[in-house]
Symmetry: C2
Subunit: 217 residues, 2 copies
DNA sequence: GACGCCATACCAACCAGTCGGTATGCTCGC
DNA sequence: GCGAGCATACCGACTGGTTGGTATGGCGTC
């Protein structure tokens, strides 16, 4: 489905060296952050030399910028390929969107980390371009969710602040990843997301199912 | 109230050099992160020399560890001194707790950053002691909120997963701070927190006020 | 033979931490 | 009261290792 998101098992099945550098860098950045990851480390893990690295990327920052651009794009294809994306009812599409993320983060093999979130924390003051690139990821994701919410509201003739609701989802997801890194407890992410799902479902006036079951499927 | 939380205006009214180092380091770590902040930078801003620094702290990591310990402690006194902490109704105490944080993060002068959150992202893999110290902050805060929620549930004879609800609050707060750093839009934090407040209020079966809609701005 | 692709050797800047040394003040025996 | 002895606080030049980035040269291919 989405190659970028599962790094734990996949080593580097990249066609060319350039892609290998991008993929291993993404994985390392997600685990250790941008600053703590050295160029030498990326090269070693990708099976490249420093010469090759700086042949393909003019700087470490440029590499990270491209990683973030790919990360953002991977959302699009990931969401586009997710189940329930084409459900007839707009509200179902919203819920399917949530369920998909909850499902992804319930996978123990899934690396619990977002490239944009980890990067922006450490470079927002020092690397404006990276801050911007990370923000683009959030904006894209938020835009996607917000348009889903807008359609759902329209279909139910509801007026809701879909902007802040979309932000809420992303914020909780990012924050849960932070807590997960701190506590090493993977369950925080799906548990928090399920709450937000329930909240937004109630905002869309979805009747909660009689047997107390948060996620459907 | 809490000296650590308002760094934007307060320069360094520390009595001794050691405290000055701790306070300026906390501020710099919050803005730039642990790795990006150099010892020289801390010294310069605190008006100390390198010799003084390493006289008081055996390493940069040890300094950060103490910063985090103070950060955690500052929560306790901050919450203890917050309004509504002694309300008669346990549910009111929960809501006052939320309102307090929302109020703090609505202050434009407030630095929108959590030391524990920013630190843990970049050092969780490389500095186990700092990861632990940051996690302690979260555990303490979560414990505090959870006991408030437990009391509220008991008073209303409700059974709720207060553990994950407390995590939800912290996760959303942390994530909103990340989004805030990325977008430079301060309003994300209070807006997201207001949603979580509304959700938990509904979980505690608090009747939503008639004239007011969910949350705006 | 020129160009894309990559390897090796190297560099300058930076940074955490060290180390020899000074200044000040406290304590205690006399 | 006074000086020896010692502890604490601090100074700042220096170092050894690291890191992002460069210079140059080899090599296969069109």
């Amino acid at each position: 489905m989405c190659a970028v998101l599962r790094e734990k098992t996949a080593p580097a099945p990249a066609a060319n060296l350039r892609d290998a550098l991008l993929e291993t860098a993404t994985g390392l950045f997600r685990q250790q952050g941008f600053i703590a990851t050295t160029v030498d480390e990326i090269c070693a893990q990708a099976g490249a030399t420093k010469g090759a690295f700086f042949h393909h990327f003019k700087s470490k920052e440029a590499l990270a910028e491209e990683c973030l651009a790919r990360w953002k794009q991977s959302f699009g294809s990931m969401i586009a390929g997710s189940p329930g994306v084409a459900a007839a009812d707009p509200v179902d599409r919203v819920l399917a969107f949530f369920d998909f993320f909850i499902h992804v983060f319930s996978d123990p093999k899934q690396l619990k980390s977002c490239l944009a979130g980890t990067t922006v924390q450490e470079v927002s003051e020092t690397h404006p371009r990276l801050r911007e690139a990370a923000n683009d990821c959030f904006v894209a994701l938020k835009g996607h969710l917000q348009s889903l919410l807008d359609e759902a509201c329209r279909s139910r003739r509801l007026k809701r602040d879909t902007d802040s609701l979309a932000s809420l989802w992303i914020a909780t997801m990012q924050g849960a990843l932070v807590l997960c890194k701190a506590s090493r407890d993977d369950s925080v992410v799906p548990a928090s997301l399920r709450h937000v799902r329930a909240y937004i479902a109630s905002q869309l006036e979805v009747k909660p199912p009689a047997p107390r079951r948060a996620a459907k499927r």
